[in-house]
Amino acid sequence: MSPRVTLATARRVLIQLIRDHRTVAMLLVVPSVLMVLLRYVFDNTAIFDRLAPALLGVFPFIVMFLVTSVAMLRERTSGTLERLLTTPLGKLDLLLGYGIAFALAATAQAAVACATAYWLLDLDTSGPAWLVVVIAVADAVLGMALGLWVSAFARTEFQAVQFMPAFVLPQLLLCGLFTPREAMADWLEAISNVLPMSYAVEALTEVTTHTDITGTLVRDLGIVAGAAAAALGLAAATLRRRTD
């Protein structure tokens, strides 16, 4: 792989993304609208302060999972992937190119959503807002890496879209947002222990309750980053230069 090709790919993916104005608008606006809904559905600042940070991490995770799995599927079905794999482009150039482009998009998304939550809706956390943004971007990168990987198992966009409920909703149910993980049945907690979103949400919960950066938070971020790297590795393994 080469930095030149990786950056050219990141640039290319970003241009493609930016050219789709409606997608950009939705990427930036939808999480904020959902934050507003969350705030007034409960109409209770204590519940909002507890749930909002976790959801600030979950939204970019879900959105980036969806966007990248469809983008990669397009690359496969349009023939551009086959063509790229006949060029000097390395598999990691392609995957990291996507990674950089969507991490930048996720940063913009998380910044807008956090600005809405903190300034407009008076979100109150013990830890700093920038830390929430950092964790949200890590979650987005994880969602993106998983999306790149699972797109290999989809033949159509219909299938790719349905990997969202299949891959993401179980993680959402088991991540401790609805019921504390310790309170779940042992087998559910065991599953929850191996799902990366559990650690993403735990890290955000740490920010809501602690003023400084805790050891748990650092460990959780490490787990999220490790899971993202593992998913990218699996995604690389699904990119075959030679096919049937």
């Binding site: 080469s2 030149r4 090709v5 050219a8 790919t9 290319r12 241009i15 493609q16 050219r19 789709d20 349009s78 023939g79 551009t80 086959e82 063509r83 790229l84 794999l85 006949t86 060029t87 000097p88 482009l89 150039d93 230069r241 030679r242 096919t243 049937d244």
Partner: protein, 240 residues
């Protein structure tokens, strides 16, 4: 002189179906080889083998002295798939410049390739907004970037008007004169006469491998379509 392309005993299965039944041919540098035959006869599969993206069952495919698909060939082989494989949401120029960046050649090379296919007036338009023929040319431009030594073009002139087709064939011959080896597939016989060498293909086998002149002579007709028919009839008569 070493062959630019050497294929020997190539067998390819796709699923349970045998698509190529032990085909072989050689092409010398600077040749324009036409691969002709009805759709579904195995042309695209053979081209995928030449660029090294097709799993093969047996046989050998060597390009510029290396096994097809070798890392060292990735700078030297240009490939245009049958369906235009370019990014519809990027402009023609952006597409060509992306491939230039991947190949590590200057952006000016990309702009030259866009001019070469006659798309400089449309360089700033997104590919999705172009006509089918223009998209095909945009895809071709990306393959010309970096002046590859071997160009594998799967039906590059489909849907183009005769004037443009003529221009592109002239361009192909200019490239060949500079030493580029071209393998061009087509299912229209009127393009056959423009090739130095013809490989006529049917059901995963070659029914002829010769120059257009020699084919006309051996079949006793000036019409290459008629020549193709006579060859096939002769081949089926042999089997029966």
């Amino acid at each position: 002189m070493e062959a630019a392309i050497a294929v020997d005993g190539l067998v390819v299965d796709r699923g349970k179906r045998r698509v190529l039944h032990g085909v072989g041919f050689q092409a010398s540098p600077g040749a324009v080889v036409g691969l002709l035959g009805p759709s579904g006869c195995g042309k695209s599969t053979l081209m995928r083998c030449l660029v090294g993206v097709q799993k093969i069952r047996s046989g050998s495919v060597r390009v510029l002295g290396e096994p097809a698909g070798a890392a060292s060939l990735r700078h030297r082989v240009g490939y245009v798939t049958q369906a235009p494989s370019v990014y519809a949401d990027l402009t023609v120029r952006e597409n060509a410049r992306y491939f230039a960046a991947v190949l590590g050649v200057p952006a000016a090379e990309a702009d030259r390739a866009v001019r070469d296919v006659g798309l400089d007036d449309h360089a700033g338009q997104t590919v999705g907004a172009l006509s089918g023929g223009q998209r095909t040319r945009a895809s071709l431009a990306c393959a010309l970037v970096g002046r590859p030594d071997v160009l594998v073009l799967d039906e590059p002139t489909v849907g183009l008007d005769p004037v443009l087709r003529n221009e592109l064939w002239q361009r192909f011959h200019e490239l060949a004169a500079d030493g580029t080896t071209l393998v061009v597939s087509s299912h229209v016989m009127d393009e056959a006469g423009r090739c130095d060498r013809l490989l006529l293909m049917r059901d995963g086998r070659f029914v002829a491998d010769d120059t257009p002149t020699a084919l006309r002579a051996s079949t006793g007709t000036d019409d290459l379509e008629e020549a193709f028919l006579r060859l096939i009839n002769a081949a089926s008569a042999e089997v029966a």
